[in-house]
Amino acid sequence: MIKFLKLYEKFGIFIFIVVGAIVLSIASPHFLELNTILNIITQGTYAAIIGFGMTFAITSGGFDLSVEAVMGLTSVFLAILIPVVGIPSAIVISLVIASSVGLINGLIITKLDVNPFITTLAMMTIIRGVSLLVAGGRQIVISEKSFMTIGTGKLLGIPVPIYITMVLFIIFYLILYHTPFGRHVSAVGSNENSARISGLNVNLVKIAVFVLISFTAGVAGTIRTSQTLIGIPTMAPGFVLIVITVTVLGGTSLSGGRGNLWGTLFAGIFISMIYYGLNLLGVQIFYQMLSVGLVLIFALFIDGIRTKYLEKIKAKGIKV
């Protein structure tokens, strides 16, 4: 049973994907075409990218609700800055602004000792307000067509967002599993007190994690903006739910300490498959909301059972 749980934690998401793929290929003759598959993966990248950041946050025992607002903020600043300073510097500045939101989050959480949940909930509204204020409440059209390459361009037949996701995945993977910082993140998430006592700078780790997640939200916001060429202050309402669903479904434990980046990546693709499948059925957007909510609760249900079982085993004195 322990072995099974461990396997599930690592590869459970693949079962979902395989089942989903079989169902979809029966339902739609177009599913197995290369274009459809690339499309699904591309649509899954936003959730996966922010999911990488959320994996770090949840692994460290934290949480971030402000990501969707950060996406909107990035989008607005891109739209305003591109005509002024050109595309590359606009992207850099917007990403810095996005990351600075994470810095503020981290500072409030560590220095004022406010619960991360409440902090980011409040920041979500504040950042939405700021984005709307900066944009004057309107959507801003970007006239620079070449900016579109980031979101819709293709290299060797594969969309650019997939490359960006892969690069970010490799970087985050190396950070989480192969650097001292990654181990510190896990340590803080498993037991903050012991991490502090053993000499870790817990506050610094936490702040860095929140900067990372805001950065990933900035990247996702950039890709999304470049696909539509519009700066939208209220971009992606409710997207945070999808990000959390992706992270938890991917096998990252809510009790902290254990992150699963592979899972996050493939859970992003899985959620995108659900959306594709529901589009295929022609259902309204409410059902998509409902299904993501239900998938999240199901993922939590499994996570809950797993945690409960492991606790029981630990109580018996068996080493896990």
Binding site: L112, V114, M123, M124, L132, V248, G293, I297
Partner: protein
């Protein structure tokens, strides 16, 4: 010697703050907006705001219980909309009184479902309710096919707009809710269980309190109060809108509870504080609206108030010596 004296002074400030801080803040808000806006200081506006404060105020009761026990619920905004559309659509079949009762019953049941998930499966409350936030909202859309339900039933409308001897009925409902909640929290074993669980869950469990059941009851109670708030809100609006109703409601309610002095770490809390805080928030929003401050600034202001409220609470409890620094 000096240390003891300083500590005593600190305690005094903390106690003064705890007893009169919120009232003081309320008076300040009222005075400032009365000076700035002639419309704000009319009796009509004042009385109306009092009535509107019941919308946040009633929900804040259940949320106070919830936060005192160390949990959150952010699904309440969607729950408000869902039960309002279901309840009001039942009016033609079972009448106004039946509609109101079934609204409250359905809300209690949804709260119960939340509670079972959280207590029995040990899923963190805020994530469970985050999922429910979307499920409830989606169900509200699906149930109504995204069309508002208009309410014409007299009894239902009376809950939000009616008056008894010149006092708005919504206010009477709120006062009754507050009185019973106060008795429940301060005069019954159940209230002590909530405080015990919020202060130290493990100690509460070891001393024989059935933590799971208390949690389930807390979430059911929260659902109950949301049901009442849902009836009052939809009666005020004259319709139940699946998309617009309750947007950001959870945010306002949590802000009211925290501003009211309830500690996010659980254990410490104040029902009366939540009441005054709900009034402060309502008058504050009304004042900003009358001064024609852009709604974008209002977003920012509300977010800042929440963070400020948590920080102030922390300082207060530090002064009172209840938090280790």
């Amino acid at each position: 010697m000096y240390d003891v004296k300083a500590k005593k002074v600190k305690m005094k400030i903390g106690q003064l703050w705890e007893n009169f801080g919120l009232l003081f803040l309320f008076v300040v808000v009222v005075i400032i907006f009365s000076i700035l806006s002639p419309t704000f200081r009319t009796y009509y506006n004042f009385a109306n705001n009092f009535r509107f404060s019941s919308l946040i105020g009633i929900g804040a009761i259940g949320m106070t219980f919830c936060i005192m026990s160390g949990d959150f619920d952010i699904s309440i905004g969607s729950m408000l909309a869902l039960v309002a559309v279901i309840g009001s659509s039942l009016i033609p079949k079972i009448g106004g009184i039946g509609g109101v009762l079934s609204t409250i019953a359905i809300a209690s049941f949804l709260g119960f479902v939340n509670g079972v998930f959280i207590a029995k499966l040990k899923i963190p409350a805020f994530i469970t309710t985050l999922g429910m936030l979307f499920v409830f909202r989606a169900l509200a859309f699906i149930y109504t096919n995204n069309t508002p339900v208009y309410i014409q039933d007299k009894f239902w409308l009376f809950m939000g707009n009616g008056k008894v001897y010149g006092i708005p009925f919504a206010v009477i409902v709120m006062v009754i809710c507050y009185l019973s909640a106060f008795l429940l929290l301060r005069k019954s074993p159940f209230g002590r269980y909530i405080i015990a669980i919020g202060t130290n869950k493990r100690a509460a469990m070891l001393s024989g309190i059935n933590v799971d059941n208390v949690k389930i009851i807390i979430f059911t109670l929260l659902g109950f109060f949301i049901g009442v708030a849902s009836v009052v809100t939809s009666a005020n609006l004259g319709s139940a809108n699946p998309g617009l109703m309750g947007q950001g409601y959870e945010f306002q309610v949590i802000t009211a509870v925290v501003l009211g002095g309830t500690s996010l770490k659980g254990g410490n809390g104040s029902i009366g504080g939540a009441f005054i805080a709900a009034m402060i928030l309502t008058y504050f929003k009304n004042g900003l609206g009358l001064l024609q401050v852009s709604s974008y600034w209002q977003y920012i202001a509300v977010g800042l108030i929440l963070i400020l409220a948590v920080t102030l609470n922390r300082i207060k409890y530090t002064l009172l010596g209840q938090v280790e620094v």
